[in-house]
Subunit: 179 residues, 3 copies
């Protein structure tokens, strides 16, 4: 290939990596923070730059939405009608959506990406005994090059397992926990 | 450096990243899926494009194989003789092999890569009380440039810890778990 | 943009990714290994190539140091005075600092990066019942281009949650655990 086409390929791969990461940023940047700190449920701040306007998602393995729901329906399922809260995420105290680096096949202006994800969710619990829900899965994305950059036009969720892990507060010296 | 050599370096880094990811894809693409769905143990579908034909692995810290076993011996340990099942993975219900982005030093046609991995394995359990085995470690890879692209010619497994985490089904509303 | 500027951007992104990974390598390369194996607490072997000499860190959400402490103060908090041990990490048996791929905005010779991290720490426990401390958070980094490459000049730690997971040894066949 020419240097120009090599550079185009490298930029495409990086852009697609960024799109995949942005999905997780959307979830994680909009969650309860420090006690009393203001926060909102507007995952679309990021997701509108992740998906094409008519993008569909198939989260059927999780119950719904599926197999061809608008991505905004997924956002409202998580974050409530109008993203005003009260969605499925409201049973959780905090979370992290950890996305791996995708393996990607690019064909001109379309691409297929496969990305592992490890999403962990701290449950709302009373007292020291708690739980953390871990979803380990793979996202299968169909992407398209748009004037605004690469976007996902269809995402299928594959879940390898969902496990609820038992937790207990107070077993360690907190000072041991600052990364 | 020249632009041509910079682009070559960038392509090399990306190819090596892809090789490292492909190892995990091999494990995860071949595991039990939806109830009743067909699946196979053929990790070599991916691993034959991860390792050189004569590549060796040192998984001695895990008991075996080591310190210089053919990678296909590792595949058969996991997936049984002839990859027909019954290997060590058969005690597990599902799993995810999450690979980080490697730090890499390239020297001409050879390279050394260090990659963190977080491999989680859901055990086969009866009833609500279960377990998930978490292996946190680092892969130390020696790679070589081949006509087919970069390949691992020796991989050494370093394990930081293996912990068995306690799990319990039914503590949450499943709808909260769709990524 | 020109090919030259595109290549510069790609190299910058990769260098910044490497800097972020190197922080975790510093923590993980300096921890207890195989029983009886020698090890040291010198995280600065890597961190001195992660941060500028006058870099500051804000780990206030973890108690301290913060909001503008020298990064070496963090190293000494973790690893003890003079990195001779006895710091906060000494309550842990082993650990892994898993860093995601950062999302980055570059502006000339400065950059802002956001990176998820999943840091897991196996506690020191007697008997089969143990615990593993999981910190899920995000690093917010301000970086600067230096003659030695990109370096972090300020890092702010955001913690999404810290959970102590319950573990128990002996629930599985160890041979099932070799990645």
């Amino acid at each position: 290939m020419s240097i120009a086409s090599d550079v185009r390929y490298l930029l495409d791969r990086l852009e697609i990596q960024d799109v995949v990461q942005r999905y997780g940023v959307g979830q994680d940047a909009h969650q309860p923070g420090a006690a009393g700190a203001a926060w909102d449920n507007n995952v679309l701040e990021q997701w509108d730059d992740v998906f094409t306007p008519d993008a569909t998602v198939d989260y059927g393995v999780a119950g719904d939405p599926g197999p061809a729901a608008p991505y905004r329906e997924l956002a409202e399922k998580h974050r409530g009608p109008g993203l005003q809260g009260g969605g499925t995420m409201s049973v959780l105290a905090n979370w992290q959506h950890f996305e791996a680096v995708p393996t990607v096949t690019i064909d001109g202006d379309t691409a297929v990406a496969r990305t592992s994800h490890l999403h962990t969710h701290r449950g709302r619990a009373e007292g020291p005994d708690g739980w953390n829900v871990v979803e380990a899965g793979t996202f299968h994305d169909d992407l398209v090059r748009t004037p605004e950059g690469w976007r996902i036009r269809h995402r299928r969720l594959e879940i390898h397992y969902v496990d609820v892990f038992l937790t207990r507060a107070g077993l360690f010296a907190k000072d041991g926990l600052d990364a």
